[in-house]
Symmetry: C2
Subunit: 141 residues, 2 copies
């Protein structure tokens, strides 16, 4: 009897864990995922804008896959009026550790060697800050 | 034999349809959801910033629920350096129709009566544009 129901129980557990509208995903009371949202801004140099856009129109597959390995998903970069705005969701447990892993990746380093010269921090960025954090003032799941 | 496998097949179909990393969710080849992402920017008047933030720290439940009814989800508003940036996902079939429905809602109108005076369009906004569209230059699911 138990065996007959096992696939159904597994099904319910999986479905309850993949509701895309919830940031706090619970399965039978066990916390299995916590999404951190992150918004950032940086300036793009006018003479480098088209190059930056062309790079990102056809991003290197290994750059994308390394971001995924480092628990980044639903990552968008927007442009307007000389600024780049990014929105991403982080599903890992240790942001700093994952960012160190990303920075240690040779393909990502080669990508940044092309993208970094296109950018410069906003005037209000703190010392050493590249992409500057935005402050979340509202969120609706 | 077929009956024994039926729950497994159902499980696979549902799991394939609820991958949170996919914008195009397919179940048995039927297109069931298409998410449109939207980034926007507007200025916030310095003297109204704290009021705007306090409103959005405790948004009216009916404003939130009307956004949900109008197929808006995963909606965040960020602040930095005098600007508000928004990111949202739209899951409906007719953006203009849903925006008309939202604008016709009396509670939303009362909310906007408070929030509109806090904002002003960016200099580059087109005639009649309130929140100005950002251009998506990159996306990773």
């Amino acid at each position: 009897m138990l065996n007959n129901f096992a696939p159904i129980v597994l099904l319910l557990l999986l479905v309850s864990g993949c509701n895309p509208q919830s940031n706090h995903k619970l399965t039978s009371g066990v916390h299995i995922e916590n999404v951190i949202r992150k918004g950032s801004v940086i300036k793009v140099k006018p003479e480098k804008l088209e190059f930056y856009k062309s790079l990102h129109a056809n991003p290197w597959p290994l750059v994308d896959s390394m971001l995924t390995v480092c628990n980044i998903r639903n990552y968008s970069i927007y442009y307007r009026d000389g600024f780049l705005f990014s929105y991403l969701e982080y599903t890992g447990a240790d942001w700093n550790k994952d960012m160190e892993k990303l920075a240690a990746d040779s393909v990502t380093q080669a990508w940044w060697k092309l993208t970094d010269p296109c950018q410069e921090p906003v005037e209000s960025a703190t010392q050493g800050e590249w992409w500057a954090d935005l402050e979340e003032v509202y969120h609706l799941d």
